[in-house]
Amino acid sequence: MAYSEQEILSGLAEIVNEIVGVPTSDVQTDKSFTDDLDVDSLSMVEVAMAAQDKFGVTIPDEEIKNLKTVGDAVSFIAKNS
């Protein structure tokens, strides 16, 4: 099933809020996971696994490294879900 980019963004915001506790409103496409949202590489694996459950998309470890911003993750999920 295809999700709109807005649906993916709001779903990701809930996931990031659940895992690291930042407000959902802070999770915007231009934000860097590491620098702006306090999502370190282990939390990023948690985000990837939660995204897998929510959007049915597998995000391999080698791909996680390329997802620097929330926008990168939204695009990847949009292309692959």
Binding site: D40, S41, L42, M44, V45, E46, A48, M49, D61, I64
Partner: protein, 335 residues
């Protein structure tokens, strides 16, 4: 002529009768670790939950730590050394290829003539050993079995490797497994995935290290943190659930969850993935002890017993997982 073979017969059930541990005297702080790596106490605690770890000195050998832990376990179990039929030692840091360190540990303990052997299952080793001991007691191969998990991982740690220098630690933990009137050890759920053997590994063989260009280089442990994290949390939560199902125990009935103390972040994420109810006490010995591989589960249990977090007769889920990638989990009754 087809001569019949009489099968062995042991106790209908087995259980752990006592635990014991040995923690090296020297406490190593994150500040000390950061003398060799570009990191900070804050980062190490955020990344792993580790505040301090213990490193063994020259006298705290694999043998000495094992004998101390197993002696305590025998005393706690109320079992004499001469009743012990087998000594099983799990370690990856006994640096002699042969003989098995279990043989001299058995002798030191006073378990004269006991069957004695080492197993190599890394961080899963203690739970592998409990699985083996359960079978030995129930088939009559041994009345009482001493299972020891022991490591001096500081000998194999690269102090300059920013991703592992703060994790690994030293110590020994032991259990005495013996006969029981009721089931005390659930079915072991275990396995391995050799396709991922490279994720946690000694970087080269002793032979390669000895004959390397430019002189002998000490081989260290290497680990790829993120893929290990993914496997340890989500795959191992599935294995933990299978062990609960195999024992017929629900999370509502569980009193304690004692996973291998690999990283606090792994423990926290496993608790979430397993949806453990709040009443389940969770082992968090890693904060003070670091990751002691095969020794971590019995050391964590010993701490929970000493602090009164768990009581005799309670039901605990134990799981070990690590290099191999090898894993084992079972439900046990605590002594």
């Amino acid at each position: 002529m087809s001569a019949p073979i009489k099968p062995g017969s042991g106790s209908a059930y087995a259980r752990v009768l006592g635990f014991g541990g040995y923690r090296p005297a020297r406490v190593v702080t994150n500040e000390e670790i950061c003398q060799n790596i570009d990191s900070s106490d804050e980062w190490i605690q955020a990344r792993s939950g580790i505040v301090t770890r213990r490193w063994a000195n020259a006298e705290e050998t694999v043998r000495a730590m094992s004998v101390a832990a197993a002696g305590k376990a025998l005393a706690n179990a109320g079992v004499r050394a001469d009743q012990v039929g087998a000594v099983v030692v799990s370690t990856v840091s006994h640096l002699y290829q042969t003989p098995a360190i279990a043989t001299v540990i058995a002798e030191d303990l006073g378990a004269k003539g006991a069957a004695a052997f080492d197993i190599s299952a890394a961080c899963a080793g203690f739970c592998y050993g409990v699985g083996l001991a359960d079978g030995m007691v129930r088939t009559g191969s041994a009345d009482y079995v001493v299972v020891i998990g022991v490591e001096r991982l500081s000998d194999l740690t690269d102090p300059h490797d920013r991703s592992t220098a703060f994790i690994f630690a030293d110590g020994a933990g032991a259990a005495v497994v013996g006969p029981s009137d009721e089931p005390g050890i659930g079915p072991v759920v275990w396995g391995s995935d050799g396709t991922q053997a490279g994720l946690i590994t000694q970087e080269e063989s002793w032979h390669q290290a000895f004959y390397s260009d430019g002189g002998a280089q000490w081989p260290h442990l290497r680990m790829e943190g993120n893929p290990v994290f993914r496997w340890a949390v989500w795959e191992m939560a599935r294995v933990a659930q299978q062990a609960l199902d195999a024992a017929g125990v629900s999370t509502a009935d569980l009193d304690a969850f004692i996973p291998h103390q690999a990283n606090m972040r792994i423990t926290d994420a496993m608790v979430k993935a397993l949806k453990l109810p709040e009443h389940v006490r969770v082992a968090r010995d890693i904060a003070q002890q670091g990751n002691t591989s095969a020794a971590s589960v019995p050391l964590a249990i010993e701490r929970m017993q000493e602090t009164g977090e768990v009581k005799s007769g309670e039901t605990a889920l134990i799981i070990g997982f690590g290099a191999g990638l090898a894993y084992a989990a079972q439900v046990i009754k605590l002594p």
